[in-house]
Symmetry: C2
Amino acid sequence: MSLKTSKLSVIPLGGTGEIGKNLLVFEYDESIVVIDGGVKFPGEELLGIDLVIPDISYLEKNRERIKGLFITHGHEDHIGGLPFILPKLNIPIYGTKLTIGLVMAKFQERAPYPESLIHIIEPGELVQAGAFQVEAFRVTHSIPDAVGYSLLTPVGRVVYTGDFKVDYTPIDGQNMDLGKLAAWGEEGILALICDSTNAERPGVTMSERVVGKTLCDWFERAEGKIILASFASNVHRIQQAINAAADIGRKVCVVGRSMESVVRTSIEMGYLRLPYPEILVESSDVENISPSGLLVLTTGSQGEPLAALTRMATGSHRQIKVEVGDMVIIAATPIPGNEKLVGKTINHLYQIGAEVVTKEMGQVHVSGHANQEELKLIIRLARPRYLIPHHGEIRHQVALRRIGHTLGYEDKDIAITQLGSRVELSADGMGFGLNAEAGSVNIDGLGIGDVGQIVLRDRQQLAQDGVVVLIAAISKGKPYTLLSGLDIISRGFTFMKEAGELVEGAQKVGIQTLTAQLERDQIEWMNLKSTLRDSLGNYFWEKTHRRPMILPVLLSI
Amino acid sequence: MSLKTSKLSVIPLGGTGEIGKNLLVFEYDESIVVIDGGVKFPGEELLGIDLVIPDISYLEKNRERIKGLFITHGHEDHIGGLPFILPKLNIPIYGTKLTIGLVMAKFQERAPYPESLIHIIEPGELVQAGAFQVEAFRVTHSIPDAVGYSLLTPVGRVVYTGDFKVDYTPIDGQNMDLGKLAAWGEEGILALICDSTNAERPGVTMSERVVGKTLCDWFERAEGKIILASFASNVHRIQQAINAAADIGRKVCVVGRSMESVVRTSIEMGYLRLPYPEILVESSDVENISPSGLLVLTTGSQGEPLAALTRMATGSHRQIKVEVGDMVIIAATPIPGNEKLVGKTINHLYQIGAEVVTKEMGQVHVSGHANQEELKLIIRLARPRYLIPHHGEIRHQVALRRIGHTLGYEDKDIAITQLGSRVELSADGMGFGLNAEAGSVNIDGLGIGDVGQIVLRDRQQLAQDGVVVLIAAISKGKPYTLLSGLDIISRGFTFMKEAGELVEGAQKVGIQTLTAQLERDQIEWMNLKSTLRDSLGNYFWEKTHRRPMILPVLLSI
């Protein structure tokens, strides 16, 4: 096969048409390179599901060709799927120091990933992965050590931004490498795969540094304890909060599993610097510190039912009690779907008599993604021939296409992808090839992928109107006779003890149906059950306008 | 009992500490007056529940003393509970013309409410209701004919704003009666019960007229069909959309049950005026009209699964097909909790290739509630001695208290209520008395109040991990023996056909448990069941980390 006739395929197996579970595949002849492997949090229709990861059947089938998996940064939607994905693939992984540290922390509770396959890389370092020369370049985002990737391929250079914003004043001084992007742009970039999360938002995203200023202002006004809830991974924000606490002589207590873990990892690896070591206090020591001398850093900014702030708000946290006069700062925006949970937490806190500071009252949170003007800057610098919006729902992808239009791109230069789309790139142009197998795998408890459409549909029916079990014993031989009455057990339907009339009516209908059927010469058990299900289903609907799941149990004895 | 020693009680049975199901009770000696009777939409934890209404036990017990129920306006959260509440009370009701029209429309599918008890009132009209002289005053809100109420009581005047914003340029020219409020303020208002919904929002709410302008702009840009989704009850917005359509020569098709009903009622009662009668077309005629000549007014602005826009977006609406180049305007803000549903609709529409216009892209929606500066205006005009924030969660009530502070009120002058709080007012001051019985009643299908905590907890467990039914037959007499194997049926747990090993293991554990128990001299059926439930529960948790509901069915034969 001649290289010249080969095409480069870009295949999003996650993170397109959705926010979450990012996984991007690059394929050229015998070489495959993967970027990221994230999770998505289940929508409310996915009852009981804990996590959703990308379907990687395509990668499993082509495992031999995968040259490596490169990671952009340490957020869950980019690394959370790796403990499920990597053991199936056993491939080399590459990432910057903090990112790899956070990935390894995820493997701690499981069998460790082989060390020989783990590679810490620096931005600017060249990694040859099959037909691809891969190079990380620094971007700014709401976690340190984030990068995008350039892939130099036989058909030209493609660049994936990863998640980014353009922060000119990052807390760690690690600027986004705009120069590199511009230099590649000079040389010629074939395609730019670009974060479209905030493509609907005009203007620019504020620098994380703004949050630091706002926090200082609020801290100065506080009289009781200060409790700050934020994403655990936003190390820069944690750094700024600790600095602000030091300035006014408050000690800092870190509470919540993921917050404790990230703070520990970040201190160990040098990404978080304490003004003086004794500023950190254990939560067991909190009772000895006056409220006006304390800052609590915690999880729960999304109102998650089990998170520390949520438990504090409901008075069920063991160590930290919220009291009248405490100030609670929620430094986050609710992820769509979490608004009500966050609202509940806020209301509980007010009920206690705490002061609650949210994003609406001052810039205690800024986004980690680029708004429209930043996106324009990046596209102007990179000047790619083709544009592929990624990391967003279709509304965001279309919004990035609209931005592309304003910069002179036409529809044919912009690829709106779906899960499994194969964007084919060559010197001749861009087109779509055959889709790759793609989708979602549900994780529920220890089960990976065993909860599918049928089980979920059953859970939905059970959730709506509960279940009714009908039990009867029937003689084995002819003449078929009912050996018992009809027992009825229900859960989640109605409070049966107070529904005597309903139950009696149901028994009557059920026994009539059964006897009529049993008088027949032949009985077919499946028919018998479905007839019983139908007649009781109609009866309950008529009486209650509900449709519980009906499970007939007929014992043939 | 001397009047002078009596106190006026203000008791919110709904609408405080929550948004929705408004119901406010005023009580003085032998006189009770009620304002509104709304519904609330169930939170997602209320699985399967259709609606939530206030618990009116307190009113049922004091039915003889109720002199009347006064209605502020025709929104569901103020009138939606009436079909459930009024038949239990049989009391006179009072409201303005459109409001009463909308209430009566709700009774149409049920037994009609006695005509002799229905009173249409005008703002400014005095109604003597026991010890209260009640007077409606006009307010501006996102539905025509909205009023607040003044109650002149033996201890002084109290005023309830109802839901309001200060719109200086209302579409129907019916201005808020600020003069009346100011005059009462001059005379002296004892307490103001004030809408706190938007008390967290700075500035002022824009006039509904702004939306009219924006709609005209968008309409002019549209090439294909225009589909406008809005709350059905926002008659002013519908009026403006119809006017804008007339201006550019488009016909109007009204789609969606509640939209059709409100438009019909409003036209009949003179609240909606058509530029010319033939502008309205039936949805069955839409196929004969060119897309560029059509405006579709529809429901579904909240992404409700069964609403017309949602069905159009998924291609399942019979008459209206969304096509490439159509413009869909969503003229609403998602109610907290609906963000994901609305997002889904938007994504479906983009998938089809429609242009989607949301509030973010221009003022296609404005709130119906007063922001901070409007609230200050009303409090300054009314100058009440006491302030009672109503119609809001505690965060909103506290925000209104904060506004009160800036106007010189102290904590003791402001009552933050909960459901059933009894605020006692007299010339001597304001305090809290004994709470009245209050709470929520869940409506599920035809059942009112029969789905309580136990049933809901069962539904939650069923929704999470499904149900497993265990069936075995056991001999009646001693020695107790197992007459069958152990049958296992499950729904919503895992896909059993592919879980052979799990099922076999469960049967083994179950039979072991049963045999061990049956060997005992005495068996207690309840114990037998709970032992079986525990051992299988542990088995499933160990194997799957899930906790399905386990229902043992043991037949004694």
